[in-house]
């Protein structure tokens, strides 16, 4: 047992490090975010400034909370984004997935370790510079209200995004045109993750459904937790409650992805796609 944990730890470190090195070659590309992130933020700022006018609270959020929400939402994106879906579909399409079946490794764990390495770059070249720009240059108070809950919530988001994307990637084991599913998911995710507009603005029936879908747990909830939002999900969830819902969603997602992973490997070793 102890030996196994040590092995996984060593493996994780090696894979994460290799991935970090691999993407280091492109680290300057991440600097695009340092321009693009603040540029979008400025537009959001003025859009909501105009919309708020003299109103103090809209959908349970003050103008200040709204501004901080958009800041947090973008920053969380840098720490938790991944393209496990695209990557896995590419491995399946090119047949390169075979090289993982031939090694004593679980590819899903491998991909998660890769994400760790990849996001360390995101932390250094996207998250920290953009945080400093928002905080020091734009003067937005980005201090998390509850630091512990915020870190926990972002950690869950990190995993949630991964398991969702990896699961989407796995559809390529079963379908020829799995790319379409990915695009459709992303379409919905754009609108419903909360990156464009907080979930609070949606009608109650949509918000109810959202509780049972993965979208809001990948961006909206952690951004609300970060900013200490008062009316989370529009149902007045408290911060610990919101993180709890996020945790439940993650457990369900992991379970689902585990089932699909087993089925996928079974299928791969049966058809050798």
């Amino acid at each position: 047992m102890f030996k196994k944990i040590r092995h996984i730890f060593g493996e994780g470190k090696a894979v994460a490090f290799a991935t970090y090195k691999e993407w280091s070659a492109y680290r300057t590309h991440s600097l695009v975010s340092v321009f693009v992130g603040p540029a979008y933020f400025i537009v959001q700022y003025f859009v909501w400034k105009a919309v708020y006018g003299d109103t103090a609270m809209i959908a349970g959020m003050s103008f200040e909370a709204m501004v901080r929400y958009y800041g947090a939402s973008a920053l969380i994106g840098y720490l938790t984004m991944d393209f496990a879906d695209w990557n896995l579909q590419m491995l399946i399409r090119t047949g390169k997935f075979l090289t993982f079946v031939l090694r004593p490794i679980n590819h899903r764990r491998f991909a998660l370790e890769q994400k760790l390495g990849h996001r360390v770059l995101g932390l250094i070249f996207e998250f920290i510079p953009c945080l400093l720009i928002l905080w020091l240059l734009f003067g937005v108070d980005m201090r998390p209200v509850y630091i512990g809950w915020t870190i926990l919530s972002i950690a869950i988001t990190f995993l949630m995004n991964f398991y969702v994307n990896y699961t989407l990637g796995m559809t390529a084991f079963f379908l020829v045109n799995a790319g379409g599913i990915r695009v459709v998911y992303q379409l919905f995710a754009n609108v419903l993750s909360g990156a464009l507009i907080p979930i609070n603005f949606f009608p109650e029936v949509v918000r109810r459904i959202m509780m049972f879908l993965p979208f809001q747990y990948t961006n909206y909830i952690p951004a609300m937790v970060w900013t200490g939002g008062a009316d989370i999900a529009g149902f007045g969830l408290s911060v610990p409650e919101a993180v709890m819902f996020q945790g439940i969603a993650l457990v369900i997602m992991i379970g689902f992805s585990e089932l699909l992973y087993r089925a996928a490997i079974r299928r791969f070793t049966a058809v050798g796609a």
Binding site: E11, A14, F17, K21, L98, P104, T269
Partner: protein
């Protein structure tokens, strides 16, 4: 000692026939077709040998090697490699073997091979000191000391393939599967890859390799298995394969004057280029070389002569079409 034994191996795929009836009809109602990719193959492999698998595209050799590696479940039949049942015990089994599938690289494109190696070290859980020793040995053996620290993307195909083989063998597997190890390489790179495989084999590693390139087999494999249409059609020593079609030689003759006929003293001409360069396929069981030469000298005037083995390509083509 037999390290690999395969008994009556079969693999059947279900595929769907594309119907002409239009999208929706074919979407809901598809015609099922069963394809026997591997159709009852049996063989055994002795420890420390190199076995070459030959066969045209789609013959079933890739499917066979995938089943041997544990990446594919057989539909029927038994495989035992070092006492393991590959697909059933895949997790344990793959730690003990090495596999290189020529077109599907394990190396990470943007970083030096040595970093990819370090990753595999962790994946296979190779202890530090063992890894260092092994890597030093293999780097020496393959002559890649100055290669492993350059990013993979700048390496030549031959250098990449060497690193690919090193990466698959760091954990000291006893059995190594190579799928098309020399595909796309130039003559020199092919030769060095073959050389390194021979060296590893000399240390007792068993190799199974599939190839299109008869040179690989001629250089490396003492034994050849030929597969076509999912069936084993030949399994023996290489020179037996050559004898299979009779004890024949090719004789190229340069003539001083153009020759028009289609036989020289009753022996048919197999090739005739512009009349002065002709070839004859000589069946040694019927006509010995000495006798042929004297008959040839009487029939025509020639300036040069070359006696060659029947080329492997020729043998294989005939074997496939039979």
């Amino acid at each position: 000692m037999e390290i690999i034994s395969v008994k009556d191996l079969r693999k059947t795929y279900k595929t769907y026939k594309r119907s002409e009836k239009g999208f929706f009809k074919s979407f809901f109602k598809r015609e099922k077709v069963l394809v026997n990719a591997v159709d009852g193959i049996s063989f055994g492999v002795e420890k420390g040998t190199i076995v070459g698998m030959l066969g045209p595209n789609g013959a079933g050799k890739s499917t066979t090697i995938k089943m041997l590696c544990g990446a594919l479940f057989p539909t029927e039949g038994e495989i035992s490699v070092m006492g393991y049942s590959p697909a059933k015990e895949r997790a344990k089994y793959v730690k003990k073997i090495g596999a290189v599938f020529g077109q599907r690289s394990q190396l990470i494109f943007d970083i030096p091979p040595v970093d990819s190696f370090a990753m595999n070290k962790a994946i296979y859980g190779i202890p530090d000191d063992e890894y260092k020793k092994r890597l030093a040995e293999m780097v020496e053996l393959f002559g890649i000391a100055d290669v492993i620290n350059k990013p993979t993307r700048v390496l030549s195909l031959g250098e990449r393939m060497k690193c690919e083989i090193v990466m698959a063998m760091l954990h000291k597997p006893e059995v190594v599967f190579l799928d098309e190890p020399t595909i796309g390489l130039d003559v020199i790179a092919k030769a060095t890859i073959r050389e390194t495989i021979k060296k590893m084999n000399a240390e007792g590693v068993t190799f199974i390799l599939t190839t299109h390139d008869l040179g690989d087999v001629e250089e490396l494999a003492e034994r050849v298995i030929v597969i076509n249409h999912g069936k084993k059609i030949f399994d023996d020593k290489l020179h037996e394969l050559k004898l299979l079609l009779g004890n024949k030689k090719i004789v190229d003759i340069s003539l001083t004057a153009p020759f028009e006929g289609d036989a020289i003293d009753g022996i048919p001409v197999s090739k005739n280029e512009d009349g002065t360069k002709i070839s004859v396929e000589l069946d040694l069981d019927k006509t010995e070389v000495k006798e042929f030469l004297s008959r040839l000298g009487k029939a025509v005037d020639f300036s040069d002569i070359e006696i060659k083995e029947l080329p492997m390509e020729e043998i294989i083509t005939r074997l496939y079409t039979e």
